[in-house]
Symmetry: C2
């Protein structure tokens, strides 16, 4: 059985990252792709399902996971912890399914340090004006908040060159085709194809 | 301007390699992909056009090209020489266009030794029976000739693991989608996207 690939996807907010990943997960033949589910110590909100939106765990358990190096990455946001369990990811990858991890550049760095065979994708907006427009549409906030979000977006974007692939989300459908092409092509790499078509290759070369 | 990529494509005869490459060259957005044109010392046949099917050159000129290392690869087949000019390839690559080179494993090895930034793709048939059937359909030859071609095909196939990508041509349309995905994904790699979107990236990070 061939191993799935772990994809790290980062982008400043307002780049359409989540919509792209959601659209990808729905398209054939990529419906066997999954989104990584994080562990968190924050309280469950109405409508959330444990094991679907997050794995909700107590702080003591989270700290225990940190201590035994069970997390590929984690971060503290205000009073809550969020992290990615190595075991939860591996459990999906061994079934041959690709896993998507929607994370910032700091999380991406932590994961690359702990797992060698990953691919990372950075998504950029088509222009500064478009990014500004999308951030304004999202948050009906004060100019100060918008200014802070723009500064955060620029800070995140400076990290694009740490990634394997770069997608410019100018046209949503083209960006989705880009994402699909990357996953399809990665599945065609020698190492993965050799495992997937092991039986066929042995037969062809048996002569 | 971003540089095009040189793709080396190999496969045993009867795998549909040429049809796949021809179909790829006709599809958008890959119509800016080109097939490499070889230099040869053999005589031009009726209907052939110099600079389109081959660059037809005298033996002395071919030997001069070998002497000054102007060929990425070459081979002698009976009394004729065939080779790939480094300059002819570079002239296309600098315009940002990807070039396809349809060549056997020996030519592929020569090119990899002389050019570092290439990608190579190997195409396998879906089964031994299908390969046998396709080879029989192609040459209405004696059992001896067919046997020799099958042996050649197997010998070529043993080299598949020297390639970056592996495509199984079970269904022509799926194999074409595979080929398209590889080219699209390779164009999204950081190094090429950085060059292609240089102006945009500078603007986004100017802040």
């Amino acid at each position: 059985m061939t191993q799935g690939m772990l994809y790290i996807v980062s982008a400043p907010s307002g780049t359409g990252k989540s919509s792209l990943i959601q659209a990808l997960l729905k398209t054939k033949p990529f419906h066997d792709t999954r989104l990584s589910i994080s562990h968190t110590t924050r309280a469950m909100r109405p409508g959330e399902v444990n094991g679907q939106h997050y794995f909700f765990i107590p702080l003591a358990e989270f700290k225990h996971m940190i201590a035994k190096d069970a997390l590929l990455e984690y971060a503290r946001v205000f009073d809550n912890y969020y992290g990615t369990s190595r075991e939860a990811i591996q459990r999906v990858l061994v079934t041959g399914v690709d896993v998507f991890l929607d994370i910032d550049w700091q999380g991406a760095q932590q994961i690359r340090a702990k797992m060698s065979d990953t691919r990372s994708i950075f998504i950029l907006p088509p222009s500064m004006e478009e990014l500004n427009r999308r951030i304004r549409n999202r948050c009906q906030d004060s100019e100060e908040v918008i200014g802070r979000r723009m500064a955060q977006a620029v800070a995140e974007m400076t990290r694009f060159s740490e990634y394997d692939y770069l997608i410019i989300n100018n046209d949503f459908n083209q960006a989705l085709l880009d994402l699909q092409a990357i996953i399809r092509a990665e599945r065609l790499r020698l190492k993965r194809q050799k495992l997937r078509h092991d039986a066929l290759i042995n037969k062809l070369l048996a002569d």
